[in-house]
């Protein structure tokens, strides 16, 4: 009961602090710079219509394909790395062996390290090392994504209900067989679902890599923004939305087929 009371008190204090902080805002002053409203209007007007010339559409298509290609390659590499790393990190791969726990700790640390650096930072590092190549784009995305996926895979594998596993052990299954016929099938739908979600994120991230000079939708968006060609920016943004929505639809279908 005392915990509950002090928690409520804390909530109250935090609300009061927030309310007080609002008094510090200069509401009448220039929150938006003077040219802001006009710029915003121009940006919105540029949507009607966006740039639809055949030449630019062709360029958009090529850029979309490039972004898609990078994200597909990156998520593939990420999954390939994340599966063994996640297995190690979950500790289910080597429960019997004495090496299981240290391996799990090491794997978790490594996964944590590679995902704590943002893909954009990885990209800058790889641009220095490898130049503006496809390898740079793919590695910069694959590393943090492997870190995230591996961590999630490990948690999902750990969180399956224990009872069916116990029943499998009782019917004489070895630890590996318990994994194969129990843990993996129970965790798999969630692992797949999350991988798809991460694939969507990879498309967005691949586009963002354009800001360090890697070709694709993001690079084209940046070029058009530089020239204040908002109608082109819109065309490119719509293409990006199309890509993400298409992956979403695909993943919904795969998940539905998997469940039925």
């Amino acid at each position: 009961m005392r915990v509950l009371e002090s928690r409520r008190l804390l909530t109250l204090i935090l609300f009061a602090a927030f309310a007080w902080s609002l008094s510090g805002v200069d509401w009448l002053g220039p929150m938006v710079h003077t040219g802001g409203p006009q710029s915003l209007l121009r940006f919105i007007q540029a949507l009607f219509p966006p740039e639809l010339s055949p030449a630019f559409l062709k360029l958009t298509l090529a850029a979309s394909f490039q972004t898609l290609a990078y994200s597909v390659a990156a998520i593939t590499v990420a999954v390939l790395v994340a599966v063994p790393m996640g297995l190690l990190a979950s500790g289910v791969a080597a429960r019997s062996a004495r090496t299981g726990l240290p391996a799990a700790v090491a794997a978790r640390f490594l996964l944590g390290a590679i995902r704590s650096v943002h893909e954009l930072v990885w990209a800058v590092l790889f641009v220095y090392a490898l130049g503006l190549s496809s390898a740079t784009a793919i590695l910069a995305l694959a590393l943090p994504y492997a870190g995230i996926l591996g961590r999630i895979y490990a948690d999902l594998l750990n969180d399956v209900p224990e009872e069916p596993l116990r029943a499998l052990r009782a019917s004489g299954a070895s630890p590996f067989q318990v994994f194969l016929f129990g843990r993996l099938p129970m965790a798999f739908p969630d692992m797949l679902s999350y991988s798809f979600y991460r694939f969507e994120c990879a498309i967005r991230s691949a586009a963002i890599l354009g800001f360090v000079g890697i070709p694709g939708l993001g690079y084209q968006i940046q070029l058009s923004l530089h020239d204040i060609l908002f109608d082109q920016v819109w065309t490119l943004l719509v293409a990006l939305v199309f890509l993400v929505v298409a992956v979403d639809l695909w993943s919904t279908r795969v998940r539905r087929d998997l469940v039925s």
């Binding site: 069916p164 499998l168 009782a170 019917s171 004489g172 299954a173 129990g182």
Partner: protein, 288 residues
């Protein structure tokens, strides 16, 4: 000491063991389960006081007793999930401590849990085949995930359970009654000599409870002249015990209360075993 005749001197005269003499005159069957003074304690509670009994092949034994009486602990000891603190538990003439977990243990004892504990994401076929895992090597189990081995055996088991048409169904789509049948089919694939069931009917309506016990006892009876298996299940209903079991062992707070043919399991005996007011019978007589 326990003799070759499989009788427990401690309970001699009290336990009318089934007549198990062989017609060839070689004497009675050796017991398949021999418990000699097994006991088990948890940090705060004594789950089983030293307990000795024998069970013969083909017996259908019901364990009765209120919650916390030690039924589940006893089943887990028999399944090899727990080890007794003291005493020796032998199955088929071998101390449990010398039975290797995995393949060896799985051929001796199989356990059905209350909730059946199937893997909902796998097909019915794969859940049934999981009963074979103890017999399968690594490679065979990997291959079986895609191209199932022993498929015909599993189909026969399911057909025998009356759900042959559900082979390729996803297990999560099955009803409660069908899940039970899958769990028993899995147990059939395991083909252990002893079948343990932890409160198999506690969450079922009366008709389904009888259906399940019918399936279990059929499985125990064995087919085409095999001498069958042994069934040990924790139960509550005196009626079901009389109908489906041959022997009943009563436990209360880890202490053996009775061990007798199931025909003697009257409602009165049951009421006395479960009576919450047992220690103070006079309380309700006074006053008013």
């Amino acid at each position: 000491m326990i003799g070759r005749n499989g009788k427990n001197p401690q309970a001699e005269g009290r336990i009318p063991l089934p007549q198990a003499s062989r017609e060839d005159g070689l004497g009675p069957d050796p017991a398949i389960v021999v418990a000699e003074g097994i006991c088990k304690s948890y940090p705060s509670i004594r789950a089983l006081s030293p307990l000795s009994f024998n069970i013969l092949p083909g017996e259908k034994v019901a364990l009765v007793g209120p919650s916390g009486s030690g039924k589940t602990t006893l089943l887990y000891l028999l399944a090899g999930i727990l080890q007794p603190d003291e005493g020796v538990l032998s199955i088929d003439g071998r101390p449990m401590t010398s039975v290797r977990p995995g393949r060896e243990l799985s051929q001796l004892v199989g356990l059905v849990h209350q909730q059946y504990d199937l893997v909902p994401h796998l097909s019915v076929l794969h859940n049934v085949l999981a009963g074979r895992l103890g017999q399968w090597g690594l490679l065979r189990s990997v291959i079986s995930l895609v191209w199932p081995r022993d498929r015909q055996m599993a189909e026969e088991a399911l057909a025998q359970m009356g759900i042959g048409d559900k082979v390729n169904e996803r297990t999560s789509h099955l009803s409660g009654g069908e899940l039970q049948r899958v769990a028993i089919a899995r147990l059939m694939m395991q083909s252990s000599r002893i079948i343990l069931a932890d409160e198999p009917v506690s969450s079922l309506d009366p008709a389904r409870a009888e259906g399940l016990l019918g399936l279990l006892t059929d499985l125990v009876r064995g087919s085409d002249g095999n001498d069958g298996k042994t069934l040990i299940a924790s139960m509550h209903s005196p009626y079901l015990i009389r109908k489906y079991f041959s022997r009943v062992i009563g436990l209360r707070e880890g202490v053996l209360q009775f061990d007798m043919p199931s025909s003697e399991m009257t409602d009165e005996v049951s009421d006395r075993l479960y009576d919450l007011e047992q220690p103070e019978p006079a309380l309700w007589g006074v006053g008013n």
